[in-house]
């Protein structure tokens, strides 16, 4: 754990050093030094702007994430378990998978107006197909032998969900959550840039108009930091807990 943290900090220090050197060498306002970015970060934080926009974006990410996971899991499960459903829904899934995020965002803004619900809905619709594809794969790979066992011992729905299906779907859920978080916050930024007047995407838009690269980087890094914290504080402990049965001491008997 300590060694991992040390390596992590070391990599960041090396990248920071390289950046500092090249920025100092180029001496161009379009490539600020890490120090200038940090200064921009502090000043934005000091004014309260950063925290406000960060929380606004985080709220959108959270809502979109929740609904995208929920709908995606249900859809993927349904398609993975029922062949007929898959046959009907698959063309739709392929369509949404390949529809550029930008097109969905623009269409929803055009149809619904520049409102919050359009913004969040656009993000959800962008993410649902990815989650559905991952979960469909998981639903198809469920162990039929354990399924039979559960039937023979009359597992009720609760036990089937919690003790039979969820543990088998867990790796797929984890994958969907990881890629989901990363994808969703990027799309949220685009949505904010195009049609919202708050959030990090909006701030980036402002900074872009005056070529304030330091602010752009300060805002981006602050959100990367948040995603990293979510990974450390939420996803990794969850994963460790769920994988306990695999990491117990080695078999006692050959």
């Amino acid at each position: 754990m300590i060694a991992r943290l040390r390596d992590y900090l070391l990599v960041i220090a090396i990248l920071g050093g390289l950046w500092q050197l090249s920025a100092a060498w180029l001496n161009d306002p379009l490539l600020p030094t890490p120090y200038q970015v940090l200064a921009a970060f502090w000043s934005e934080l000091d004014q309260g702007a950063l925290l406000h926009h960060l929380l606004v974006t985080l709220r959108r990410v959270a809502i979109a994430f929740l609904f995208a996971m929920l709908l995606g899991v249900l859809l993927g499960w349904y398609m993975g378990r029922y062949r007929q459903a898959n046959r009907w829904l698959d063309p739709l899934l392929v369509l949404f998978l390949n529809l550029p995020a930008l097109v969905l965002i623009i269409l929803l803004y055009v149809w619904m107006g520049l409102v919050e619900s359009a913004a969040v809905l656009a993000v959800i619709l962008n993410k649902v197909p990815n989650v559905a594809v991952a979960i469909r794969e998981g639903a198809r790979s469920l162990d039929p032998q354990l399924e039979q066992m559960a039937q023979a011992y009359n597992f009720d729905l609760r036990r089937r969900v919690l003790d039979l299906w969820l543990p088998q779907l867990f790796p797929y859920l984890m994958g969907a959550m990881r890629s989901g978080l990363a994808l969703i916050w990027k799309i949220v930024l685009v949505v904010e840039l195009l049609g919202r007047s708050d959030g990090i995407g909006f701030q980036l838009h402002q900074a872009f108009q005056i070529f304030d690269v330091a602010a752009i980087l300060a805002y981006s890094f602050s959100f990367i930091l948040v995603v990293q914290l979510i990974e450390w504080a939420l996803l990794q402990p969850l994963e460790r807990r769920a994988r306990r049965w695999q990491t117990q001491e080695e078999p006692r008997h050959a």
Binding site: Q145, A242, Q248, A254
Partner: protein, 208 residues
């Protein structure tokens, strides 16, 4: 107790049936035959898991409890031994006794991957018996064990069955010796083109 009239059942390219089978309380029946003759298929039909056949399966009591011990232990790998038993319907306070009965102690907190196959079979047996079934279905309970472990488990099965004279049992085995040791009647499946030969031998028909 349970009556099965099987007209025919297609599995893969093979066909099972026609055959008639009645299981009475306390009866111990062995299904013997070469691999691929439909023994497990017949067991699945008897258990009610497989309903895709032509014929009728009648339970005399609706609350008839059937426990199925599969050929593979089929324990949930992400749950401990104790949790596996409880999930299958064992009352929590009965877990310890159920495991002791099959000769296991100090395994309740282990995960299935920490068990040997012989131990996992015993856990599966404990799970089957702990729900206090009227009918116990055993699918090759002694297969792929080393001779010593198999002998031990055979003795244990014999003892546990002797302690429960009311319990009916249907055993699937490719080994006539196991059938002889554990059952008192025998049904030979197999023969030409997967056709089923009707009971060709009734060993000591002592079952009531």
């Amino acid at each position: 107790m349970l009556e099965l009239r099987l007209e025919s059942k297609a599995y893969g390219r093979r066909v099972l049936g026609p055959l008639e089978l009645g299981i009475e309380p306390g009866q111990r029946l062995a299904l013997v035959g070469p691999s691929g003759c439909g023994k497990t298929t017949l067991l699945n039909i008897l258990s009610g898991l497989d309903t895709d056949f032509i014929g009728t399966r009648v339970l005399q009591r609706q609350d008839l409890l059937i426990a199925y011990m599969f050929q593979e232990p089929r324990l949930l790998p992400w749950r401990t031994v104790a949790q596996n038993l409880v999930l299958a319907g064992t009352p929590e306070e009965a877990v310890g006794t159920a495991l002791e009965e099959v000769g296991l102690d100090d395994v309740a907190h282990l995960y299935p991957r920490q068990l040997s196959l012989g131990m996992a079979r015993r856990v599966a047996l404990a799970r089957a018996l702990a729900i206090k079934p009227d009918l116990l279905l055993l699918d090759e309970p002694l297969v792929s064990l080393d001779p010593q472990t198999a002998a031990q488990l055979r003795l244990l099965l014999k003892k546990l069955l002797a302690e429960r004279p009311w319990l009916s049992m249907v055993l699937v085995s490719h080994d006539p010796l196991d059938a002889e040791a554990l059952a008192d009647s025998c049904l030979y499946l197999g023969g030409e083109k997967g056709r089923v030969l009707l009971p060709s031998e009734e060993k000591t028909a002592s079952a009531g």
